[in-house]
């Protein structure tokens, strides 16, 4: 296993949940990676104040929406005027992404264009935090699957993905169906399951996302963001209860192997 040298971790805020404190995540990463510079870049579109650029990116985002999760998105979809206008407002911070599913790989391609070419390498860990819900296509069951994160250049971590991608407890979905049939208030159900899944604007969101940021770091460091240990923050949780355990409940942050790699990186 090759361990790469990291130069810098760069954090971008591409429109996130208000509950996400990126400065706190940066501080956490600085403590974990004492020898690596961590920089908060903020809004990646702040570099592109011109209306032409905003319109250009709005068109790109609007063209990667998934209309049907059982049909693979065709590249070069022609977006509607209203969809472009919505994305323009989204880029300018005048609205928030809601109810839209994006193709994750295409989203990554767009965000990749926002990275400075001289910083486009594995030495630089670019992490875009956003609240866009994205999914990746699975050839085996021929449908899209929502994701929390996508690791590559750049890595993307979605706060909406944290809420929507890992499955909630099975009994939640059974009861949800019953509540919907009976016309009952879903908020009551959420109260009944309080603490068993991460919700929108959840106060635990920043703590949870720290673990995903470390997955992005390990992806660049050793080429593998994940760990098999369910108590390690690098565990690839597919259930909310697994996520909560790995990120919040487990008695240790990282398994012995990954703790050792962090110590090596810090020169201990």
């Amino acid at each position: 296993m090759k361990v790469r040298r990291l130069n810098k971790v760069l954090l971008y805020d591409e429109g996130t949940s208000q509950a996400l404190n990126i400065e706190e995540i940066a501080e956490y990463l600085r403590k974990k990676l004492a020898k690596v510079q961590v920089e908060v870049r903020g809004d990646p579109f702040a570099f592109y104040p011109s209306q032409d650029k905003v319109l250009d990116y709005a068109k790109k985002f609007a063209s990667i929406k998934i209309q049907d999760s059982t049909k693979r998105m065709l590249s070069g979809q022609e977006p509607l005027y209203g969809e472009i206008e919505y994305e323009k407002r989204r880029i300018l911070g005048k609205t928030r992404a809601f109810g839209i599913l994006y193709d994750g790989l295409e989203l990554q391609r767009i965000l990749w264009q926002l990275i400075l070419r001289e910083e486009s390498s594995l030495e630089f860990v670019h992490i875009f935090f956003n609240n866009r819900l994205f999914a990746t296509w699975n050839e085996y069951d021929r449908r899209y699957h929502a994701r929390v994160s996508l690791y590559g250049i750049p890595s993307i971590i979605s706060t909406t993905g944290v809420v929507e991608a890992p499955a909630k407890p099975r009994e939640y979905y059974i009861l949800k169906q019953q509540y919907e049939m009976l016309g009952k208030d879903i908020l009551e159900l959420k109260d009944a399951f309080q603490g068993r899944f991460i919700d929108y604007e959840d106060e635990r969101l920043t703590e949870v996302v720290k673990g995903y940021a470390m997955q992005a770091v390990f992806y660049a460091l050793i080429g593998d963001p994940f760990c098999e240990d369910e108590g390690c923050r690098l565990y690839n949780a597919h259930w909310q209860e697994e996520l909560i355990f790995a990120q919040l409940v487990s008695e240790y942050e990282f398994c012995p192997r990954h703790t050792g790699l962090i110590e090596d990186e810090n020169g201990h």
């Binding site: 790989l105 991608a165 994940f226």
Partner: protein
């Protein structure tokens, strides 16, 4: 598949390398410090001795 480095044994295009390695999953590649999407650079020539880093894109959650 994790991030891995391979040495190019003879001059070939990016398309030829992708075919040879049977790579169909989403990936970025790095050659001589330049990172790019293979499907946008299929005709690009890789020289014998170039070190190519294969950077698979991995989804989480």
């Amino acid at each position: 598949m994790g991030i891995e480095e391979i040495e190019v044994k003879e001059d070939k295009t990016v398309q030829e390398l992708m075919d040879e390695l049977k790579i169909t999953s989403p990936i970025l590649i790095e050659v001589n410090g330049e990172v790019f999407y293979p499907d946008e650079n299929y005709g690009k020539i890789l020289k014998r001795g170039d070190i190519v880093t294969l950077i698979p894109i991995v989804g989480g959650g």
